[in-house]
């Protein structure tokens, strides 16, 4: 069993009367990329700021490398690299100066890798930060983070201002870190990015972690969309347990599409076989489906509560 790099147990954070974090519990293992997803305002950045010792948690416990995130923050930060979602830089320093400063603050050197990254991300380091766009400011932070030799990397929506080409370069660099066995916490809205890179995922909503696990684990918890054409009539399938959103194709006879709960898929297949299948298409749930389902489920719950 791999060592745990980050461990959060029942973390809470109150701002005055407002409870921003109600119950955050998850961990990141060594060598793992952990995806941290959730809607705007759910508490992703607040969680990360507590982990960085910028905010002080009001309940629960959080440790990185086994050390308390508030008390031992400086020790932890020596082995950590962080890229915030909104990067703000001193307007009268150049990008090159800021990258070097960030490296020096963690006793790192400007290496050939730094230069390679500057080239890869196509950043002009001589420009003053005030002239940089949001994407370029993000590049400065990313270059500094990727050329830092750390054990744990935290990215908070790091690609929100990057173009698709740069996003690809970002993903390559994260995957390279993963290959080296580094641990990464990636908070993101871009679900394809999370799907491609993350080993495990935590979904946060309203200050609570509502689900953690691998993508496969979560797929079991959800539905597969099936589009099927048969020789015989399918109308009665709508009543079968585990079938949702049943729709008959109006233009083609005996064609229908519906969603099936993962645990009912075997039974449905058995029921389908005698109808003489002509064609069958099954689409595994994307992270987007998962995400939307969790989002909607919670909304349903709160709707019922009303």
């Amino acid at each position: 069993m791999a060592n745990t790099v980050l461990e959060i147990k029942h973390l809470q954070k109150k701002f005055g009367k407002f409870q921003a974090l109600k119950d955050i519990t998850f961990d990141v293992k060594e060598g793992e990329v952990f995806g941290f997803i959730g809607p705007n305002g759910a508490g992703k950045s607040t969680t990360i700021r507590v982990l960085l010792g910028i905010l002080r948690g009001t309940g629960g416990k959080a440790t990185i490398f086994g050390q308390d995130v508030w008390r031992d923050s400086v020790k932890i930060h020596a082995r950590l690299a962080y890229v915030p979602g909104d990067v703000y830089l001193w307007p009268n320093l150049s990008g090159g100066e800021i990258i070097d400063l960030f490296l020096k603050l963690n006793q790192q050197k400007h290496t050939a890798k730094t230069d390679a990254l500057i080239k890869q991300f196509e950043l002009d380091p001589t420009k003053k930060a005030r002239t940089y766009s949001k994407g370029n400011r993000q590049k400065v932070a990313l270059i500094a983070a990727f050329s830092t030799d750390a054990d744990f990397y935290i990215f908070d929506e790091p690609t929100s201002g990057l173009d698709p080409l740069m996003e690809e370069i970002f993903q390559q660099n994260v995957l390279a870190l993963k290959k080296q066995g580094k641990s990464i916490l990636l908070s993101s809205h871009i679900l394809s990015e999370v799907e491609r890179m993350c080993d495990r995922i935590g979904i946060i909503r309203d200050g609570r972690i509502i689900e953690t696990g691998t993508l496969d684990d979560m797929r079991h918890l959800t539905r597969t969309v099936i589009t099927v054409k048969t020789q015989e009539n399918l109308a009665d399938f709508a009543q079968l347990p585990g079938v949702h959103n049943f729709k008959i194709d109006e233009r083609t006879t005996n064609k229908a599409s519906f969603a099936v709960d993962s645990e009912s898929i075997g039974a449905i297949m058995v029921a389908l076989a005698p109808r003489q299948i002509v064609s069958l298409q099954s689409t595994p749930p994307t992270l987007e489906d998962l995400f939307l389902r969790y989002y909607n489920r919670d909304q349903e719950v709160s709707d019922h509560a009303k």
Partner: protein
């Protein structure tokens, strides 16, 4: 087409006024309250002919002329004439500061925050935000002027008249508006709000010093200093309206240039060119301290030069100030040359002691700004990544505090040194430079305590940190004007600047020096404790 440049100006003006109601209210209350309260007291303080005669002699001395402007009223003197002489230059300074505050706030600051971009994306004319800022300035200054005039009428000092009351009020309004337009222009030239504010204060400082020099030497030349126009109103005397016309004409001319510049440049760009930066960080930029130092470098240099120039300007009139024989030839005959020289030196040392307070207060400003930046830089998001590095809060806090200390100590030192060097050079029987430098040692702990108070607010009450400005503002008011207003002793001692004795005239009180320094250290530590144990600010 013309219309599209200005559409929605009226709406924006109303919006600015509504948004700024609190600072507008506070400035109005401060200015009008000061004017009215002082006017109400003057008949009491200067009710007798002997009190009037003695204050007039004081005000006619070169030292007082350099601070407050010349005393031009003719006998028989009235409290109103004394009031005008004491208040005009000083109130001009205050309304100019108010105008700079609002002018930069509504132009360059909005632009820095990206709000201007959002506003301009709507159906708003290209020049509308600037027009709205101009109109807001005009309205605020008019309010100051009208309310001040009404307050003066209400007080009804002996020797005042309605024309003079309104001339005073409207003169202040025109003066404030004129300096506001200077600031609007600076906001076009500079590439950020900090730069615009610094440039505005540079202009204000330069004109103020020019006024001081011409007032002491040749009051006719004061017409050329712009700042001096406010004296030329000759309130409660000849009641001259010409300076108001001049102020408005200059304001209109400056506005013309401003709107031209604004039409020429892009949003968020300045007209002063910005150069490309370094490709790699210099070896010196290696930690939080060098970072803060590097960020503050330019303003540090400007403040130091500014204070030194201010010191030199005051010092250069020491020869005139200390020439009692010229002011009163009879005294020289009676006392003899040696005694006159002693008297001259006492006058100068007294003058230097008053100036030392000014240097201490002005020197506190850059130091306070630096400490306050610990939070304001945080709000801008600049420090977030620093906190994620191998940098403790203690290191970050001490970096800002140490740079602030350097800033304040050097500013005070250079102010006093400038005064000492120029002062000794201008005197026929000079004092030693070390004697004048007593002022630096004496006032140093006061500056440290003020810095400590600021640090406590920064650490414990970040949302109220702007309140720390009350300390230097009250300091100037109570010590600069306190004597003339007959403030009780306890009122002068509410500020740390009031705890220091009259150095360099008197000896340094080492006991005071050490306990004040100790207090400052304790305050800085309390500030650190608060800073280290709270959530950092989020933008």
């Amino acid at each position: 087409m013309r219309n599209s440049q200005v559409s929605q100006s009226g709406y924006l003006t109303r919006f600015y006024l509504r948004r700024d109601w609190l600072p507008i209210g506070l400035w109005l209350l401060g200015i009008v309250g000061l004017m009215g309260a002082a006017a109400g007291k003057f008949d009491g303080i200067y009710g007798t002919q002997s009190a009037l005669a003695s204050i007039v002699t004081t005000l006619k001395s070169p030292a007082m002329v350099s601070l407050f402007g010349p005393f031009i009223a003719k006998a028989p003197y009235t409290p109103a004439a004394v009031y005008a002489a004491e208040m005009m230059v000083f109130m001009g300074l205050i309304v100019a500061m108010m105008a700079i505050y609002f002018a930069v706030r509504n132009t360059r600051t909005e632009e820095d925050n990206g709000i201007l971009e959002l506003v301009r994306a709507h159906a708003v004319g290209k020049q509308s935000p600037l027009i709205a800022a101009t109109l807001e300035l005009l309205i605020i200054n008019l309010m100051v002027g009208v309310l001040s005039a009404l307050a003066l009428q209400g007080a009804g000092m002996t020797g005042s008249n309605t024309t003079g009351d309104w001339l005073f009020g409207l003169g202040l309004a025109a003066f404030g508006f004129m300096f506001g337009t200077f600031s609007l222009l600076m906001s076009q030239l500079a590439s950020n709000s900090r730069g615009a504010t610094s440039l505005s204060y540079l202009v204000l400082g330069a004109l103020y010093i020019a006024r001081m020099l011409t007032d002491v030497q040749n009051t006719d030349a004061t017409w050329w200093t712009v700042y001096g126009w406010i004296e030329k109103l000759a309130i409660y005397g000849k009641n001259n309206w010409l300076p108001i016309v001049l102020m408005l004409l200059l304001a209109i001319a400056v506005l013309g240039v401003t709107f031209f510049a604004s039409a020429k440049r892009d949003v968020t760009a300045g007209l002063l060119p910005s150069r490309p930066g370094r490709q790699r960080a210099s070896r010196l930029l290696a930690g939080p301290f060098s970072l803060v130092f590097r960020l503050e470098r330019t303003s540090l240099i400007i403040w130091m030069i500014g204070l030194f120039v201010l010191g030199v300007s005051y010092g250069s009139i020491f020869g005139t100030v200390g020439d009692l024989m010229k002011a009163n030839p009879v005294m020289a005959k009676v006392l003899g040359t040696a005694a006159v020289n002693v008297a001259n030196r006492t006058v100068i040392l007294n003058f230097a002691a008053t100036l030392a307070i000014i240097f201490a207060v002005v020197g506190s400003i850059p130091a306070m700004i630096t400490v306050l930046k610990l939070n304001s830089d945080e709000r801008k998001g600049w420090l977030e990544q620093l906190h994620a590095k191998h940098v403790s809060r203690a290191r970050l806090y001490s970096s800002y505090v140490v740079v602030a200390l350097i800033n304040g100590i050097m500013a005070l030192f250079l102010g006093v040194l400038g005064m000492a060097v120029a002062g000794t050079a201008s005197m026929t029987h000079p004092l030693t430079i070390t004697r004048i430098l007593r002022a630096f040692v004496g006032y140093l702990p006061a500056l440290l305590v003020v810095l400590g108070i600021t640090a406590v607010l920064v650490g414990l009450l970040p949302r109220l940190q702007a309140l720390s400005w009350v300390v230097p503002i009250y300091g100037v008011f109570s010590l600069y004007l306190g004597g003339l207003f007959d403030l009780p002793k306890w009122a002068k001692q509410l500020t740390p600047y009031g705890w220091v004795n009259r150095v360099p005239l008197s000896r340094i009180q080492w006991g005071t020096f050490w306990w004040m320094t100790g207090l400052a250290v304790i305050l800085l530590l309390i500030g650190y404790y608060g800073y280290a144990h709270r959530d950092l600010l989020e933008n």
